[in-house]
Symmetry: C2
Subunit: 302 residues, 2 copies
């Protein structure tokens, strides 16, 4: 609507090396390092570089330590690691990460299938995990996955999501992100959850992580921008997929997000041609055509 005040700047977190690659056939350690280094030169300020998960659960991330040791770290970029539990946090801290994200699914069935424990069990570990990260001088974000729906349970009530958030706040997490794990969100659902969260925790920094599984990714971003949300995850080239729907697309593509934001006059610090080039690299590294439309279409004017 024309009377909405959109944010002047948006902070983009590039999650292609983690959420993207963990849903692709495994690629070499050198290829992962090449991608992360290329992304570091696009102007993006935050990169989720790896996750510390059990190598049997996600073999694509088995070399997380080695990837991280070989990345040419740019001081202008904040690199982060995702962890599913206390053990992962210990590994991430030992590897030298200071920015950690712990993921908990709002849906109990999804949490069990994803990390083999109940939502309650994950939440029960949060205070100790938070203490550990803070004692090491780090920060901890709580990522609530299946925040807009679960492929097993269907709708996930807003109250259920807020209950998870409440536990995270009590444990002292520094920020919050919501994940639309299988792309079930639509704009009115985004609006409802963001408004309810802001109402309950007005000071808690909030980021959103959309998948484009059903084509609604940028529509969801737009609805969130109308509410002033200024922190979004995206994956270069739309790298990745959906473990619940073979062949379906994954995260929203970073260059599509940047195209939208730039055209709206919202600053991201990201150089769009450089990000499109990185998407081309991602496509070559995984050896398949990625879902990014901007990668295909290129600049708006010939």
């Amino acid at each position: 609507m024309s009377d909405v005040a959109f944010p002047a700047k948006v902070s983009v977190r590039e999650v292609g090396p983690r959420d993207g690659l963990q849903n692709e056939d495994p690629i070499s350690t050198a290829a992962k390092v090449e991608l992360i280094d290329a992304l570091g030169k696009t102007g993006v300020r935050r990169i989720e570089a790896v996750s510390f998960v059990h190598p049997k659960a996600i073999p694509q991330m088995a070399d997380a330590d080695e990837v991280w040791s070989r990345v040419v770290r740019d001081p202008a970029v904040r690199y982060s690691a995702l962890v599913p539990n206390l053990r992962g946090a210990e590994r991430a801290l030992a590897a030298g990460f200071t920015e950690l994200e712990v993921v908990v699914s709002a849906s109990d069935t999804h949490n069990r299938r994803n990390i083999n424990r109940s939502t309650e069990e994950s939440l029960g570990e949060l205070p100790e995990l938070s203490t550990l990260v803070h004692a090491a001088g780090g920060t901890l974000q709580l990522i609530v996955s299946t925040a807009w729906g679960c492929p097993y349970e269907g709708d996930v009530p807003v109250d259920r999501v807020l209950w998870v958030v409440e536990r995270g706040v009590a444990a002292g997490v520094d920020s919050l992100a919501y994940g639309d794990t299988t792309g079930m969100a639509t704009p009115p659902r985004v609006t409802r959850l963001v408004e309810a969260t802001r109402s309950a925790h007005p000071e808690l920094p909030l980021g959103l992580h959309f998948h484009n599984t059903r084509g609604t990714g940028l529509a969801n971003v737009y609805a969130a921008l109308e509410l002033g949300v200024d922190d979004f995850d995206a994956s270069v080239g739309g790298l990745g997929g959906c473990p619940y729907a073979p062949g379906a697309s994954g995260n929203i593509a970073t260059e599509e997000l940047v195209y939208l934001l730039e055209d709206m006059g919202i600053d991201t610090g990201i150089d769009l041609p450089a990000m499109i080039e990185a998407a081309g690299l991602a496509e070559r590294l995984v050896g398949r055509k990625l879902d990014s439309q901007v990668l295909r279409a290129g600049p708006a004017v010939r």
Copy 2:
């Protein structure tokens, strides 16, 4: 935003058989008829079936007369034809169409490259064309293409678009549609043009035709829904492409649009599983993987 009143119903015009197929390698007459007949069974109420253009310009539509003569016409469906000029309108009326759309590009360069005449020349023919259609008992819609940008000229000013509309209104067109021919629109551009149009012509029925060339298609739909727009074009499976960017996607996919609208509680009359099935048929008929995400991902819950 939570205080927005979205429309309760949306009228979808299926344009796959025309805008979709004219950007694919030619398929047989029988295949076109099969697709149109399948679409007629999905609950969609409007189908743009063919265009009457010069066969040298768009060979994919050379058999428009034969396609139309073989379609099993469903009385619950309104079928329409697109025409570029007076000659096309004469052919469409002779074939028995009573719902015609004439396309004029707001960008002079695009109009010249698309239909080999200036925008002014196209507009100059509108009064005679309108009289012809109305004398035959038909209705005429003016479709303004490149309404949000031109692949040759870049930005197209709102005033330029409104100047084209003014000429259409003076010629007596019955309704208006805006085409984002090469997918350059973003939500704030949609809002600006729709608000300016409503202000100038509050009673003129308005439909929007988005392409997903840069991934913003459904975001643009959402912005328009916030303004109460209740009439959208879409193409089954996302059939089609962009003549200016080989490999790029075409119209927004009908099943993605229906997924979004259904989840928002907005009625379309379309049966989503039937439309997904028609998208599967479209994919088989053109023999390539289409860009629709909903076709890949299927229902939200397993």
